[in-house]
Each structure stands twice: as C-alpha cells, then as structure tokens.
C-alpha cells in the first residue's frame, strides 16, 4: 500500500472509529512496515514472522524500546524525515530516536485524544506550560506535545514558564494570582517533577492558591528515580491540596518517545486510557506470549499512529491490561530511568551550572 493511502486510512480511522477495523488496519500497517522498514524486516525474519502468516495484531512482533537506541527504525530514509523525537536516556548516554516523515498523523493522534481527555467542551483555555519550548528542545516529543497544546488550544494569555534554561516560578505565581483575580480557569501542563519543585517553592514562600473553578492540571513523566519520589496518587493529592483543585481535575498523561499516541489517567486510579487506535497487550517476558486476562506482565502497545517506525513497541513497564486501558504497576527495576522528567532534571542541572 502506498504511503499516502495508508496515511489517509489511519487519519480517517483516528477521526472516526467506525470507518475501519483496528485489526484490519493493523495488518495493513504491519505489511507496510515490513516492506519499508529494513531493520524491522530483519527483526521479523529473526522471529520467523511474515505478514502473510499474521491474522491478528497480537501476532505482530513488537520491538523492545531499547532497540531504538541501537538502530534507526524508520520506514523512510532518515534524511527524508521531517523530524525525529529523541529519548532523554542520560543514564546510558545512548539516546533512542523515533523518526517521523511528517507530523500529520502524530498531530492528529495527539489532538484527538487531547480534546477528548483534557479539553472536554472548551475550545481554548488559558495555559501555563512547565516545560521548555521546542526551540530549546527541538527533539523532545513532550515539548512538541505541549507546544501543539498551547498553539491549538491555548488562549492568548497562555505562557511558557520555562525560558532560556530556567524556570520562572515568579512568572507562574503572577499567572496564578492573575487568574484568581479575574476568575479565569487555567490549565497547567508539564513534567511531574516541575510541579513537585513548584510546590516546594510555594512552601518556601508560604504561598497558597485557590484556582478558579474549571481549572485543571496535567502532569507527565512521574517522579521515579528523582530526588523526591512519590506515587501518582500521592502526587495528585499534593498538587490538588496546594492549588485547591478537585482531585479529578488532576490528570496524568503517559507517553513515550517511541510511540505516537498518549494515554490519560482521568480518574486517578492509575488506569491509563488508550485511544481507539491503540491496543495494549500484556506479555509474559519469559516466553513472549500473551498472559491471561487480568494477569500482570510486560506492556506492549500497538499504536497505529506510529506507522512511520513500528506499530508494536514492547515497553519496560509492568502492568495489567483492561479493555481499552491498562494499569501501570511500575517500571522493571534495573531498567534505565526513562522519560520526560529526566529531561527536565537535566535542564535544571544545566541551570544551576550556569548560575
């Protein structure tokens, strides 16, 4: 199938679930990737899998995330790609890259699920982003995600709190004070760890906020492996208290550079909801087979929006799958710390070094 055709088919499916079947489309995407992704084809051959043998998406060999650090796993020559997103990977020094020939599907995926989970009925809202702008981190998928959010859903008063390698918490404070004064609901988005730092800052300065009704907060990345570690529910409790937000208005987003879609934990139960173009399966790492329903194992995500590289990605996360969602039970210990929070730490380290 031709590139444009398959792209259109995915875009149509993202827009309307009823226009296609996940499985049929997954098999198409797999065939496309097998044909066009040389490294992935070798991988499938080593697994003795050919598209002609595959009837259901669960049979498609998922690529372990670590592989992104070893090879450019892309369906088009990397020089033709509009951009790539890069993992932080500071512990090993190696960084994984996920190439995107263009960002059309990536953006459609981000927006569709973001609208459903974060924006609800609003069309534009006053935002504060606690993460660097893509100018500063051009290859961070989180940076691109937040930029898309502010560009397409942020009102004119929206601001970036991180600037030129530093967090301007004073700016955030005046932003919050202003919104309290005018009773304008706000949406705060950023890395989990930047919020932890901000709450510490508030404590130091003896600050307290009562955000206007309708205000929300979205964090991502978690705090594992950082100076202050807390569970997702502890975190929500903390920010909800500090900003006087209802718990249900604190949403956690789970995303990976190696994927092109995100998951949202709306209820604060740890249940990460997937969009309809993503399916999560849980495998037993001992033999690579799917576990029984409700059993724990390693999470594998099949993301149709990830059609520029590979559909199936095997994570280092332990979890339990549920219909269109999964429960995260934590990372496999010993595995390298991942993600966005690390990038921010790096960023902050940079700051303290410069000062």
């Amino acid at each position: 199938m031709h590139y444009e055709d398959i792209k259109q088919r995915i875009l149509t499916f993202i827009e309307n679930e009823k226009r296609d079947s996940f499985n049929a489309l997954a098999l198409q995407v797999f065939a496309y990737q097998y044909e066009n992704n040389r490294i992935y084809r070798k991988f499938c051959r080593s697994r003795k899998v050919h598209p002609s043998m595959v009837q259901s998406y669960q049979q498609i060999p998922p690529v372990p995330v670590g592989a992104f650090k070893e090879a450019d796993i892309a369906c088009t020559p990397i020089d033709d790609a509009e951009t790539y997103f890069q993992t932080s990977g500071t512990t090993s020094g190696k960084q994984g890259r996920n190439f995107h020939r263009d960002l059309e599907v990536w953006t459609a995926s981000m927006k569709s699920h973001f609208e459903e989970n974060i924006m609800k009925d609003n069309c534009r809202v006053k935002m504060a982003i606690l993460f660097p702008h893509p100018k500063e981190m051009p290859h961070s998928s989180l940076s691109q995600y937040l930029y898309t959010a502010i560009r397409d859903y942020g009102s004119e008063e929206s601001v970036y709190i991180a600037n030129n390698g530093a967090y301007d918490f004073e700016k955030l404070v005046s932003f919050l004070v202003e919104s309290e004064r005018t009773s304008t609901p706000v949406l705060l988005l950023g890395a989990t760890f930047s919020f932890i730092h901000f709450v510490e800052y508030m404590k130091d300065k003896n600050l307290q906020f009562q955000l206007p009704k309708g205000s929300r907060l979205m964090d991502t990345g978690g705090s594992k492996g950082r100076a202050i570690e807390m569970s997702s529910s502890q975190f929500k409790q903390m920010v909800a208290e500090a900003l006087n937000l209802p718990l249900e208005d604190c949403v956690n987003m789970y995303g990976m550079t190696e994927l092109s879609s995100q998951f949202y934990d709306q209820k604060g139960t740890g249940q990460q909801k997937a969009p309809h173009w993503v399916r999560t399966v849980v495998i037993n790492p001992e033999n690579g087979l799917c576990v029984q329903d409700g059993e724990r194992g390693i999470l594998v995500h099949y993301d149709l929006a990830n059609f520029h590289s590979v559909l199936g990605v095997m994570t280092e996360d332990l979890g339990i799958a549920e219909k269109d969602a999964f429960f995260l039970l934590g990372r496999s210990e010993g595995a390298e710390a991942k993600g966005c929070s690390l990038a921010v730490e790096q960023f902050r380290h940079g700051v303290s070094k410069w000062n």
């Binding site: 490294i39 372990p64 090879a71 001992e286 595995a335």
Partner: protein
C-alpha cells in the same frame, strides 16, 4: 509444608518469622536484642570449651557430618534435595549433582589440607609450639565470628562456617533470606554428632539493615565475614566498629579464556560443553560464574563457529537441567539486552546473537566490537569475544580489575604458563580449567586471601622468656 529452621541454643525460645517459598514455608528465628545478647554471651562461654579441643577432633566431627551428607539416604540430605529446588528455584538435578561434588571437598583429607595450606604446623592452633627462630607461638581464632551468609548458591555458607570452626571460633550465623535452609540443616547434623560443638553455633535471621541487632552482633564479634552485593557490604562496613575485622566478599566478576589449540576439530565440542557448564551452573549466579569467554582466533574453527557450538551446548544443558523461573525484572533485563545486540547485529557482522527460541533460557552474544568487559544480566547469558592472543585480554580486564575473581581457561601445556602469568598480573585471583569454575578446590585463596590464616591472631612468646626465666628458676643449681 512448614518447617522450623535456624539454630538457637536452648537457653532462649525466640519467636519465629515465616518466609514462604511457593508451597513451602520456612520459620526463621527472629531474636529480640535481649535474646541476642544472651545468645552471644552463651556462644562466648561455649567458645572456651571449643578452644580446649584439638583441631583434629573438630576435623573428625566435620568429616563425620560430611560422610552423613554424602549418603543419599541420610534424612537431612534427602530433605535438602527435596526442598532446595523449591527455595532456590534451581533445577533439582543440578542441585543434586552439585551437592555431591561440593560436599566431597570438605572431607577429612581436604579439611586437613585447608588447615595445612595456611599453617605449616597445624598444631599452633592447639598449643604454643616452638618456632624455628626461637621462642614459641600460637594462633588464636576470633572468640566469636558473625557470618552474614549469602544465598545465591546453595550450601555456599559451608565455606565460612567450616573456616570459623577450624580456628575454634563460635559462630553467629545470619541466614540469607533467599536460601536459609542449608546452613540450618547442616548444623542440625553437627548437633546429632556432637552436642557440645553445636552449642557454640547459633543460626538466626534478621532483615538486612536492622540497626539494633546488627550493632549488637557486629560489636560483640571479633570478626565479621560477609557475603553480598556492593550495597549490602557497604551498609555492613558502616556498622562494623573499627576494632572488629571485616572479611567482605562482595560481588565479583569471572570469565574464561579459550586458547585456539582447544578448538581442534575433535576437542572443540568438549571445550564448548565445558564452557556451557560453567556459564549455566547455578544459572550464573555465583561470583565464579563467567560473564564472558575470550576465545583465540585462527583456530580450526572460527570464534563465530565456536559461539554457535557453545549455543548448542547451552541448549543441551538447558534440556538436562532447566534454568530457574525468573522474575519479570530478570526476564526483562535479558529481553532488553538481547534486543540491544539483535539490532546491532542487523547492522554489522561483528555482532551475532544466538538465543533460545520462545524463552529467555539461554543467550550467547558474539561481540567483536566491544572494547570493555561486558557485564552479563546473568541467568545463562554469556558473551564470546574473539581475541588474537591472551595478550589482548588485559585491556578488557583493566577497568574491572578490583572485581575480578575466577578465570576458567582451556589451554595446552605449551601455552599455559604465558596465560596464567598474564591473568595473575591482571588481578585474577583464581585460575581453573574450563568446566571447573564452579568448584573451587579446598585451601583456595578466596578472593585472593588466605582462608584461615587471615582469621587468626598470633601470640609470640619470644626466646628471651625461655632463656631469661631460668635465672629465676627456684630449682636452679
């Protein structure tokens, strides 16, 4: 099934904590600080009796215990064979075979050798003996040794337990959470043979890091022998007072070297079989399990071919003695390491990945690219690195120098000397033939130190005493 283990003197009746291993639940004694103090007092008291015994008598008792354990019908041996696979997850046949060869290395002759390697005149452990340079001398073991046992390989605690008894020290043993069974059963055997000797031993449990108990145990001992990870050793190091000697056996790295003459057509399969045994035994959990084999190029078969033969033999071993079931984390570590090499292998022929199908049972990585010592995620995951000669090996060992332990070598009489000289220089502390890495010989210098001689303190009585005291002899003429 429920079983009370550990070993506490009859003067206390402590509470027990349950440790479960699948269907088996083991109850380990968990003492209060007060009880621990009482036990220590008791052990120190018993040590005086132990001190009065002859080393040869202790050897005889240990030998009797070993004889019992070598009998496959002996009740504790049967119990160990039944329960150790449940406790450790290791294959039962692997444990059975290992126990047999391992226990034999504690027979009377071996114990005598262990003593004589360190003490050319073993009588110094019993009495003041004349020194050739004049005067007398005697070696005293510590009054009390606290042993922090490890559990990665079953029965491993026997080394330090026996060492302590041979220098007539009382024993306070802290069981490992992962394998608390063997030391407990073995001390029960000693009790069957000699009640009095067994009274100088207590085997208990506490959770690593328990401040109060550790402080009492370490500060009341004259020596602490500890096995464990860098992290647990460091935590122990912080708590052992400066006047107490700490003998720490942290995690170590081992490897193999295979000379090209051992890749001759008729012998190469045997070489691969030996390598596979070393890399598979105890699922590579022992300090003396190899992470990597350095293999000489330009042999009858290429190193790449040897890696394939090794893979076959790893598979054979797996069929005979399957690896333990792993935790998700351990499996994950193997999967991620495999994918790293697999995707590199897609881009270069300097790397090849050979792996068990549809399982994580075994993995062989041929790696001509790396320039540093590759650390395996263990559980039968081994590297093969081609080298032109033994002289290429030191560059890989340089950065892990302080952590090196065993080298299993396959060599011929022609090149063996040059090989051991290079390895000795690199900080390796034990060289064995390939296939023997898992079974150190009695009297070995564990981590490069004497086993028993390190434990004792010497008391010298100088010749002046002998000579000058005569002047005061009331019977002098």
């Amino acid at each position: 099934m429920e079983l009370k283990i550990g070993f506490v003197p009859s003067i206390i009746s402590p509470s027990y904590e349950e440790r479960t291993f699948d269907s088996l639940s083991l109850l380990v004694p968990k003492l209060t600080s007060e009880e621990l103090k009482q036990v220590i007092l008791h052990l120190k008291h018993q040590q005086r009796k132990l001190q009065a015994r002859k080393t040869n008598d202790i050897i005889d008792i240990l030998d009797q215990a070993i004889q019992l354990w070598l009998d496959s019908n002996y009740h504790y041996r049967k119990l160990a064979e039944e329960l150790l696979p449940i406790v450790t997850g290791y294959d039962s046949e692997m444990i059975r075979v290992f126990l047999y060869s391992y226990l034999r290395s504690f027979r009377k002759e071996k114990l005598q050798r262990m003593v004589e390697v360190d003490f050319p005149n073993p009588l110094v452990l019993d009495d003041f003996r004349p020194r050739s340079s004049g005067g007398l001398t005697r070696a005293y073991g510590p009054e009390l040794i606290t042993h922090v046992f490890s559990g990665n390989v079953p029965a491993l605690p026997l080394w330090s337990l026996v060492s302590g008894l041979l220098v007539k020290s009382s024993t306070l043993g802290k069981l490992s959470s992962s394998e608390p069974l063997f030391p407990s059963l073995f001390v029960e055997t000693l009790r069957e043979i000699d009640r009095d000797l067994a009274e100088s031993i207590a085997i208990i449990w506490w959770k690593g890091g328990e401040e109060e108990l550790e402080r009492i145990a370490y500060s009341s001992s004259e020596a602490v022998i500890a096995y464990g990870s860098e992290k647990s050793i460091n935590s122990i190091r912080k708590k052992v007072p400066p006047h107490v000697n700490l003998y720490a056996h942290g995690h170590k790295l081992s490897a193999g070297f295979i000379a090209k003459d051992c890749l001759q057509r008729v012998l190469v399969t045997e070489t691969a079989r030996r390598a596979a045994k070393d890399a598979s035994q105890f699922d590579q959990q022992a300090c003396l399990s190899p992470h990597v084999f350095f293999v000489e190029e330009k042999g009858n078969v290429t190193v790449r071919e040897f890696a394939s033969l090794l893979a076959q033999e790893m598979n054979n071993y797996e069929v005979k003695m399957p690896r333990a079931r792993l935790s998700e984390q351990e499996n994950q570590a193997i999967i991620q390491a495999r994918s790293t090499f697999q995707f590199q292998a897609f881009q270069t022929n300097k790397i090849a990945l050979l792996e068990s199908e549809k399982s994580t049972s075994w993995t062989v990585v041929y790696d001509k690219k790396t320039t540093s010592f590759p650390i395996s995620p263990l559980n039968r995951f081994v590297y093969v690195i081609p080298v032109m000669s033994i002289d290429d090996v030191p560059s890989y060992l340089h950065e892990v120098r302080g952590l090196l332990q065993t080298f299993g070598v396959a060599c011929t009489p022609n090149n063996f000397r040059s090989i051991i000289e290079v390895l000795g220089q690199c900080g390796v502390s034990r060289v064995t033939f390939l296939g023997r890495m898992g079974e150190p010989e009695p009297g070995w210098h564990h981590d490069g130190r004497p086993h028993l001689a390190d434990l004792v303190r010497w008391v010298d009585v100088e010749a002046s005493v002998e000579i000058e005291m005569d002047a005061y002899d009331p019977n002098r003429m």
